[in-house]
């Protein structure tokens, strides 16, 4: 039985949505701290540009495209859920998960390539940030995809459809973090 507390909405906004926004607020400062540190270091170390030049902008751009597309399907899933169409909401969520899988796959290849060419996390400061920031982001992608799988499973049965929107908000956040990471790690050379 659900507590009565869960069914109230004194602010007029669904509790789950409030919670997601607060989660994101605390996530923003995690990435904010990491990226601010990176930017400070980068400004102090012009020579890091040499290391940044090694990163593969094309792969990065492709992954950006994949994530943006997956965000689009997340939006479509939300729209379907609004219509009460759990089946297609689930379908779009599975698309999004597919996008996540492609993203991680590409990332794995990219890292494997870089590591096998001797650019490891201990090589220098740039690479340390590169692997840490992208790794933390990838961790969020994987975690988000797993949660999304549960949401999709329920949605297919037309259960807990409001969660489709919540996981969508989270997914946009993961996307936006990458939008910051891509120029900082790949484009700035």
């Amino acid at each position: 039985m659900r507590p009565i507390a869960t069914t109230r909405a004194a602010t007029g906004t669904e509790t789950g949505k409030l919670a997601v926004w607060w989660v994101l607020a605390s996530e923003v400062v995690i990435f904010g701290g990491l990226l601010a540190s990176y930017v400070m270091f980068r400004l102090g170390h012009p020579e890091w540009a040499d290391a940044a030049a090694v990163t593969n902008t094309h792969i990065g751009a492709f992954n950006t495209f994949v994530l943006l597309t997956s965000s689009l399907t997340a939006v479509l899933a939300h729209q379907a859920a609004e219509r009460g169409d759990g089946k297609s909401a689930a379908k779009f969520l599975y698309f999004t998960i597919g996008g996540a899988a492609v993203f991680i796959g590409v990332k794995t290849y990219e890292w494997w390539y870089e590591i096998s060419h001797g650019y490891t996390i201990t090589s220098n400061g740039f690479w340390a940030f590169y692997y840490t920031a992208a790794g933390l982001h990838a961790f969020h992608v994987i975690a988000g995809a797993i949660i999304m799988a549960f949401v999709a499973r329920d949605a297919a049965k037309n259960l807990e459809l409001h969660r489709v929107e919540l996981i969508g908000i989270y997914w946009h956040f993961v996307d936006i973090v990458w939008i910051f990471l891509f120029p900082l790690l790949y484009i700035a050379k």
Binding site: P3, T7, R8, L18, S26, I30, G44, T132
Partner: protein
Amino acid sequence: MVEPAVDLTHGHAHDDHAHHGPQGWLKYLWSTDHKVIAMQYMFTGMFMALVGGFMAYVFRMQLAFPDISVPGWGGVVSMGEYNSLVTNHGTIMIFWVAMPVLLAAFGNYLIPLMVGADDMVFPKINRLSFQVFFVSTIVILASLFVEGGGFAGAWTAYPPLSADATYNLTPLGSTLWVIGVGLEFVAFLLGGINFITTLMNSRAPGMRAFDVPLVVWMIVVASILFMLSVGPLLAGAIMLVFDQTIGTGFYNPATGGDPILWQHLFWFFGHPEVYVVLLPAMGVVIEIITTFARKKVFGYRIVIFTVVATGVLSFFVWAHHQFIAGIDPRMANIFTITTLLISVPIAELCFVYIATLYGGSIRLTTPMLWALAFVAEFLIGGVTGIFLGAAGADIYFHDTYFVLAHFHYTFFPIAIIGTYAAFTYWFPKMFGKMMDDRLGKWHFWLTIIPFNMIFIPLFVLGMGGQHRRISNYSSFSELAGDGFQSVRIFATISLLIMLAAQLIFFYNCWKSWRSGPKAPKNPWKANSLEWTTESPPPHGNWRPDRMPVVYRGPYEYSVPDREEDYWPQNEPDGAPLQVVDPDAGEQGR
């Protein structure tokens, strides 16, 4: 550690919860009831307070009687052990005592009861929060016993010392320390989401934002502060663990890193953190003062606005811990300004508390004594912060015992005095028994007097130039004299008295719980909603068809032209007490 919670809450909270899931004591570990989770946090915190207190005992014995075998420790405290004891004393007292008890235990216990809800909005996340916290507790305790000993680089963990085992000599201990603290942060993030959303969305029908008891406001503002400040440090902790374990060089100047980065990340969190623990204690104290002075708060909204102002300002003062740490000296000026400015809202809070007493009808019960002592003692801690905030004076005071005494005069009132205030005030509600007031007063005086006798001398030592984190002052000719040593001995003996006095407290708890008089619903004649249900409250807090409805703010004491000098929040105007709207609780969605 959790087991005591089992016994004490047994039978009341959980009869109707037993059908599914694991049986026996495991059932309590898996309970989602906010009151059970509160107890779990509280007893874990109480246990850790004993651990932290024991550590203080051991290293204070070493300071008073250098290089003798400390009874109970089983030997002489070596220099490495000393550092490790101090480090873990600080870490445990802040992260495993002050936060779990004031924020998590009382937050969990009070928020749903005070806003008139039957539970937190996400009971399972709440349970997960405690479970993560429990794991973190095991990690930090385990870190004390690994090879090389517990981490010994101070609770601030400045690299390169903390980042490199060749410097700190505790390879495993330092990594477990970071992981333990990191897990603890995650636990409080999970808990904080519940606190914030429960206040926002699950208030009883009729309860507007300004009808919420101040303690709830303060716990929630504290949770928000925590949430918005801890992120950078979590990122920093990841970098620190990588430096320790896989040899990255984020904080290593030799590879282009910067040790000062950590200090910024740490204190950007660290200063808001002190208000994270301060605010819940402040909230507890104002609840108690209003109840026992039978007075309305002098300026409810002023309090909320100043608390928010303090919260905002607290994000801009962090570098006052780094005045002489090699930051740009021009920055010190900016942080001197912000640091001194923060005295304004805090002073305002103190003035409001004092003004609330004016015209009151003050009853000096045990909880009231603790609450008043909080104000009196915290003022000492607060004003000594001003010496440190003035950058010019901090050149001399930084890392001396003056700083140490300053923050014990803030932390002790918060974590010990505030906790005892809250504990004795809500004991009847939590355990359904009244506490013995006479024993309570003995415990109070035998804690407060020795407390001052411990820490006032430490101010004097600090002014004499005695630095922190030094196990034996015999290397420093200016500090090795008998005069200094007798002050150290005086402080340690006072500590022994205080520790002994805690036995009174535990005896009182045990005795009252076993054979104290049964507590009525509202023993203090207070207004807020937790006093409108049974002591202790049943699972779900109120009968589902009797959820409270709110008609006014929580501080309507001594309203003229009323017979009673209190006016519970759920009592409709003009009507007698028991009327409750049966449809209450169904709102929204």
